[in-house]
Structures are given as C-alpha cells and as structure tokens.
Symmetry: C2
Subunit: 189 residues, 2 copies
Amino acid sequence: MRQIKQTAYHHGNLRRAIIDAALAAITEFGPAGWSLRELARRAGVSHAAPAHHFGDKTGLLTAVAAEGFEVFADTLERAAEDVLDVGVAYVRFATGHRPYFEVMFRPELYRVDDPSLKAARERAAHVLVVSAGRLSPSPAQDRLTTIAAWSLAHGFASLWLSGALPETARDDPEALARSVIQLFIGMAR
Amino acid sequence: MRQIKQTAYHHGNLRRAIIDAALAAITEFGPAGWSLRELARRAGVSHAAPAHHFGDKTGLLTAVAAEGFEVFADTLERAAEDVLDVGVAYVRFATGHRPYFEVMFRPELYRVDDPSLKAARERAAHVLVVSAGRLSPSPAQDRLTTIAAWSLAHGFASLWLSGALPETARDDPEALARSVIQLFIGMAR
DNA sequence: TCGCTATCTTGTCAACGTAAAGATAAGGTT
DNA sequence: AACCTTATCTTTACGTTGACAAGATAGCGA
C-alpha cells in the first residue's frame, strides 16, 4: 500500500497536475483569467515549480493546445467515415472539451511552431479536407466546399461557446448542430 | 490657432485616446497582451488616469466592445437589402476591424449587460435574422437557416483571423468569403 | 469671485511572471 | 555501499501590473 507523503519534495506527476489545473481554470475563468502561481498552489507546490516543466506560461498553454489537438484529431478520425459525423464530432469536441478548444484556435497564446502540436493539427485538418471533399459537386468546387463546411462547424461551435446564440439554442448543442449540418448537407445534394 | 500645451494637466480627449491605444495594442498583441499602464504611457498621462474614464480594465474592454457593436450594426444595416452583401459585410468587418471583433465575441472580457452594448448587439442580430430568413425554403426552416448562415460567416471570419485557413486563403478574405457564401446561397436555392 | 465637479497625479499595496541559486530526491555506475 | 549525475522542486529576488485612496488642478456655471 502506497502512502502519500504530505511533505513529499517531489510531487510525482506535477506536469499532469498542472495541465489539469490549467484546464479547470480555463473552464472557469477563460484562457487568461488565472495565474501560474494559483495553479501551483492548487497542486501543492511552490510557485516556481511549474517553470521546470513548461518554461513559462506560454509553454504551459502550448502543452494544453498540443494535447487538445491530439484529442481533437483522434475524435475526428473516429468519425471520418461519415461527413455528418465529422461535423457533429467537431462541435461535440468544442463543447465537451471547451478549455482545449478555447486555447487551440487562439494562436497568440501559444507557440504555433511546436512540432507535436503541428503534427496533430495537420492530422485533424486532413480528416476535414477528405470528408468535406466528399460533399463537393465537382473537383473544381472542392476547396470552397471544404472551407464552407469547416466554417459552418467552426462558426457554430464558436457562437455556441461565446453564448451568442439565442436562449433556445443553449440546451443541446450537439442535437442542434446535427440539424444545422444536416440542412447544409441536404442543400449540397 | 490652438496651441498644444506640452504640460497640460488635462489631456482634452483622454477617453478617445485610450480606446484608440487599446485598439492598436489589441491589434498587435491580442486582447490580453498589454497593460493599462502602457496605454496611459502612450497617451502621455499618469498610470491611474484611465481609471477615471473606465473604472477598470474590464470597463475599457466594455467600451471597446460597445463601440465595436455600434460599427458592426451600422455595417450590417447598410448591407441589409442583400443576403450576400450581409455575409460579406460580416467578414469584412471582422477582418477590417479586427481588434473590435476579437473583443466582441469574447464575453468573459467585458460586461455583457452594458445597456448601450446590448442595444447595438440586438440591432446587429436583427439584420442577421431578417436577411438570413430570406434564404429559408419554408418558415419551419427559418431558425436553422439563420443559424447556418450566421455560423458560416462567423466561422469563416474566426478561422481567417486565427490563421487556421491554408496559406492560399490568406490574401483576399473578402473575395474568398464572397465565393464561399455564394456557394452556400446557390445550394439553398 | 466663488464653489462645484470633472479630470488627472502621486503614492501605495498585494499579486503576478520570470529568473537565479540552492536543496532534495532518484537512479545508475562502480 | 559509496559516488555521481540528473531531474525535480524550493527559496529568494526583481520589475511590472491592476486597483485603490488621497490630493492637485482646471473648467464652468452661479
């Protein structure tokens, strides 16, 4: 039986604990309404401990964004067979993993050239391009159709997250997104 | 001939100067990458001068958002006759008045219940609902069509601003948006 | 001229991000 | 077992920030 020392000098899994604390803080206060020192306090370590794992605040947000793009790419790949499913998965990720999403598409918050982040982002983009391409009436329209489909899903997710949609649309974002995307797909055919 | 005193105790138009400095700072560093004290320095006043006009930082961002929604509503109203024009105007506002847009749809940054802000926001929403409604095939589809059209325009604007769209889409956002929205309108008919 | 109010300054405080230097633990090597 | 190397975390320190309080200055109507 493993005993948890109250006064352990080494945390054991600080990196994970700080990222989780950051996700919780972003959920509650947005990507800028908290402090590194507060996360350290929550994790029970000194205020400078996180620096060893992330360098600075931007480093922490880079780790959050990278992890987010990983989960995002996995989510989209699982739905890749059906265009509607991909669109719905896009929205479900945004609403179900809000703190990730809120960092990922705000590149001024993190280091966009991070290698693992770039790889996951391209993995996600590939799913979008392939599945949206299937909606296109002709190869000449591939590009516009992809941008339109991506904009639709991303716009819905952003508007829902920002609370801009009317009251009646707040309840079940996934169901509403499915209807909206279905309408779009129906028009395309 | 009006002489500008170097050591004037009163600035004359501090409120406007601070808002303009904020817009410039947001353009350069995003809505969180600057300080109130820096804006005060740029305006040549003491570090506590802005507080008199805005209360706190949230107050300043509320003023920015309110002004943004005013310009936004004016822009949309001028295009209200044609659905395509409204969509293009939406994107043109986002790309042409980037600092406003980046604050407006981030409600955690400002006081959403500000009266003048609310009024302008509802004015803008009204144009969207009316013009998107004209795209709807039947009254039963009004709601979904409106949300779809709004999502499309908003999503395109957000993706373009975040730099998420591919390199080839960076040059002329307005022209590309026009093509994308035209595709959407064509599908709806 | 007087007084009222808006505007701006000065001084102060706790909290923040970041860096440097030191302490502690863990794990491999001999 | 003794040693050394490296990773991890603490302590201390510095300059900056947002916010507040108190005081100075200016404009403006009575």
